[in-house]
C-alpha cells in the first residue's frame, strides 16, 4: 500500500507519462516532417524545371532540351486502358460478393484472396504479364502495360464496390422487389445508384494507385523515346521515364525526372483528396 501511495512512486509514474508524451509528440513530428521534407524537395526541384515545353515537347536525347509530352500521353492511355479493363470486372465481382453471395463460401474465399492481391508486390504482376502476354506475342506493348495495371485496379475496385453495396439499406432492395423489378434490375438501377459516390471513389483510388506504378510497366510496356499511341508497340509512360532519367548521369534528364515526379505526385494527391471529398459528401447526405 505504501508502495502505491508513496510520493516518489507517484513522481516516477508522472515522469514516465511525461516521457511517453514527449516521445509521441516527437514521433508525430517525425512523421509529418518526412511529408514536408519530401514534398518540399519535390516542389523545389520540380518547379524549377516546370515550363510549357514540358507539356508540348517530346523527351529529348541526352544533352538537349525537351519535354515530357509522350510519357504524359502514354501514361494517360495506359491508365484509361487499365480502368476500362479492370473496372467492369471489379464491379461485377464486388456485386456478386455483396448482392448474391453475401454469406457463401465463394465470397469469403474471394475476399481473402482479393485482399492479398491488393497488397501483392506489383513487380510480380509485371513478371506475370510478361509470361502470359509479352513472351507469347514476342514484343513489349502498351496493351500488356495496360493489362498489368488492370490487374492492380481490380482488387481496389472489388473491395470498394463490395463495401459500398453492403452499405445500401435493404429497404431499397425490398421496395424494388415489391414493385416487381427483377433482381438484376434492382442491382443495376437501384443499388448502383445509391452506392454511386462510393464506387466512384474506388475507381479514383485505383487510378491514384496505378498512376505512380513503375515496376509492372518496366517489362510490359517498356518505354518509347518517340511519339506513339500504338498499343501494339512499346509505349512511353511517366514513371518509367522518371526511373530512366533519374538514374542517368545527364543533368537535363535528371531535371526532367524531378518535374515528372512533381506532376505525378500532384495528380495522385489531387485524386486522393477528391476521393476523400466524395466520401465526405456521401456521408452527409
Amino acid at each position: 500500500m505504501t508502495e502505491i501511495t508513496s510520493p516518489s512512486r507517484y513522481r516516477s509514474r508522472r515522469r514516465r507519462n511525461g516521457i511517453a508524451t514527449g516521445l509521441a509528440l516527437g514521433a508525430t513530428a517525425v512523421g509529418l516532417g518526412w511529408l514536408v521534407l519530401i514534398l518540399g524537395a519535390l516542389l523545389w526541384q520540380g518547379f524549377s524545371g516546370l515550363s510549357l515545353a514540358v507539356f508540348t515537347e517530346m523527351t529529348p536525347p541526352p544533352g538537349s532540351a525537351g519535354g515530357l509530352l509522350n510519357p504524359i500521353v502514354g501514361s494517360l492511355i495506359l491508365t484509361v486502358l487499365a480502368v476500362a479493363i479492370g473496372t467492369p470486372i471489379g464491379i461485377l465481382a464486388g456485386t456478386y460478393m455483396a448482392e448474391y453471395g453475401r454469406h457463401d463460401l465463394l465470397t469469403s474465399v474471394v475476399r481473402f484472396i482479393n485482399d492479398i492481391l491488393l497488397s501483392a508486390p506489383s513487380i510480380v504482376v509485371g513478371l506475370f504479364i510478361y509470361e502470359v502476354m509479352v513472351a507469347p506475342m514476342g514484343h513489349f506493348s502498351g496493351l500488356a502495360g495496360g493489362v498489368s495495371l488492370a490487374v492492380l485496379v481490380i482488387p481496389v475496385v472489388v473491395r470498394t464496390t463490395e463495401d459500398m453495396l453492403t452499405l445500401v439499406p435493404n429497404a431499397l432492395r425490398e421496395a424494388a422487389t415489391s414493385i416487381g423489378l427483377p433482381r438484376s434490375l434492382t442491382i443495376t438501377r437501384i443499388c448502383y445508384r445509391a452506392a454511386r459516390a462510393g464506387m466512384l471513389t474506388g475507381v479514383l483510388l485505383a487510378v491514384a494507385r496505378i498512376s505512380g506504378e513503375t515496376a509492372p510497366l518496366l517489362f510490359t510496356s517498356l518505354n518509347n523515346q518517340f511519339w506513339s499511341t500504338n498499343l501494339n508497340a512499346p509505349i512511353s509512360s511517366l514513371p518509367v521515364v522518371i526511373f530512366q532519367f533519374a538514374l542517368s548521369p545527364y543533368k537535363d534528364w535528371q531535371a526532367l525526372a524531378w518535374t515528372g515526379a512533381l506532376i505525378i505526385t500532384m495528380a495522385v494527391l489531387a485524386l486522393s483528396i477528391t476521393a476523400r471529398a466524395l466520401v465526405a459528401t456521401g456521408k452527409q447526405s
Binding site: 509528440l25 497488397s119 472489388v158 414493385i179 445508384r193 506504378e213 517489362f219
Partner: protein, 338 residues
C-alpha cells in the same frame, strides 16, 4: 441522384406488365426474357468473382512455369547459393533474399515504434480538431507513389546520410567489438541502411493508420475504468488499450511488412544493386525486387530470365504467407468488433 429516371424504370416495369397482360403468351415471353437476363447477370457477376481466384492462380502458375528451367538447373541450391554471375550463367538467390529480409527488418525496426507512438498521440493526446488533419497528412504519405520516394532517396536522402549519419555511425558504433562490423566500411550513401530507412518512411502510414483504427475500437468503458483507478494516459494506453488491440496491431504490422518485402522502386534507386552479402549495413546490396527491376529487360538467355522469374516466385511466396497471416489476424479482430 436523379429521381425522375429511377422512377421511370419502375414505371416501365409496370407499364410493360399492364400492356402485355391481355395477351398471356407475350407476357410469358417478356417474363422469360427478364428471367434469362437475370440469370445471365447473376452468372456474369459470379464469373467475375471466380475470375479473381483464377487471376491469383494464374499468377502462381505462370511464375512456377517460368522458373522451372532455373530450378531444374540449380535445384535447392538456388535458394542458398551466394553466386550470381550472368556471364557464366550461375545464379543463386541468397544475396537477394538476405537483402530483402534485412532491409525490411530495418524498416520495421523504425516504423513500428514510431507508428505506434503516432497512433498513441492521435487517439489519446491530440486535441480533437487536430486529429483529422494529422491523420489525413499521414495517410497522404501512403499515397505518394514509391518512385517519388526513390528519386528523393537518391538525390536528397542518400547524400545527406553520406555526409552526416553514416560517418557518425562508422566513427562511433563501428569501433564497438560485437556490432562494429555492421557499421564498417566507407560511407557510400546508398546501401542497405538507406534502403531500410526509406522503406520505414513508406510503411509508417500503414502501421499508423491500422494501429489508430484498432486503438479507437477499444471500448470506452475499459479506458474510463482505468482512468477512474487513477492511471496516467500512458498507463492506460500501455496496459489497457495495447493488450486489447494486440491482434489488430500485429495484423497491421504484418501488412506493412508485406509491403516492405515487395516494394520495388524506392529500394531499386538506393540499394546499389550489388550481389553480395557484406557484413556492413552501409554497404550496397540488393533485394529480390530490385534485382528483377534492374536486370529483367537486359537478361539474355532463357536461364537468366528463368532465374529472375524464380526470384519473383520466392518473393511472391514470402509475401503471400506474410499477407495471409496479416489478413487472418485482422479478420479475427474485425469479427470481435463487429
Amino acid at each position: 441522384m436523379d429521381p425522375s429516371r429511377s422512377q421511370s424504370v419502375a414505371d416501365i416495369a409496370i407499364q410493360q406488365r399492364s400492356l402485355i397482360a391481355p395477351a398471356a403468351g407475350s407476357r410469358a415471353k417478356v417474363l422469360d426474357r427478364l428471367r434469362l437476363s437475370d440469370a445471365v447477370f447473376r452468372q456474369l457477376t459470379r464469373a467475375a468473382a471466380i475470375g479473381v481466384l483464377v487471376l491469383l492462380s494464374a499468377v502462381i502458375f505462370s511464375l512456377i512455369r517460368g522458373s522451372i528451367p532455373a530450378l531444374k538447373t540449380f535445384g535447392f541450391g538456388f535458394l542458398v547459393s551466394e553466386r550470381w554471375n550472368p556471364v557464366t550463367e550461375i545464379f543463386g538467390a541468397m544475396p537477394a533474399i538476405y537483402g530483402t529480409v534485412i532491409t525490411s527488418f530495418i524498416a520495421m525496426l523504425f516504423a513500428v515504434p514510431i507508428g505506434l507512438m503516432i497512433a498513441f498521440f492521435l487517439t489519446a493526446l491530440c486535441p480533437l480538431w487536430l486529429r483529422r488533419p494529422i491523420g489525413i497528412a499521414i495517410e497522404l504519405l501512403a499515397g505518394i507513389p514509391s518512385i517519388i520516394y526513390g528519386i528523393w532517396g537518391l538525390f536528397v536522402f542518400a547524400p545527406f546520410l553520406q555526409e552526416t549519419l553514416q560517418p557518425f555511425l562508422i566513427n562511433t558504433l563501428g569501433n564497438l567489438p560485437l556490432i562494429g562490423p555492421l557499421f564498417g566500411g566507407p560511407p557510400y550513401g546508398i546501401g542497405m541502411l538507406t534502403a531500410g530507412l526509406i522503406l520505414a518512411i513508406m510503411v509508417l502510414p500503414f502501421v499508423t493508420a491500422i494501429s489508430r483504427d484498432v486503438f479507437e475500437a477499444v471500448p470506452a468503458v475499459l479506458k474510463e475504468a482505468a482512468y477512474g483507478l487513477g492511471c496516467t494516459t500512458w498507463e492506460v494506453t500501455r496496459n489497457v488499450v495495447l493488450p486489447y488491440a494486440r491482434v489488430g496491431v500485429i495484423g497491421g504490422i504484418m501488412l506493412a511488412l508485406g509491403r516492405a518485402l515487395g516494394e520495388t522502386m524506392a529500394v531499386t534507386f538506393v540499394i546499389g544493386n550489388a550481389h553480395r552479402i557484406s557484413s556492413s549495413l552501409l554497404a550496397p546490396g540488393t533485394t529480390i525486387s530490385a534485382t528483377i527491376a534492374n536486370e529483367f529487360t537486359e537478361a539474355v538467355g532463357d536461364l537468366y530470365t528463368s532465374a529472375l522469374i524464380a526470384l519473383g516466385l520466392i518473393l511472391f511466396v514470402i509475401t503471400f504467407i506474410v499477407l495471409a497471416i496479416a489478413r487472418y489476424l485482422l479478420l479475427r479482430i474485425e469479427r470481435r468488433i463487429g
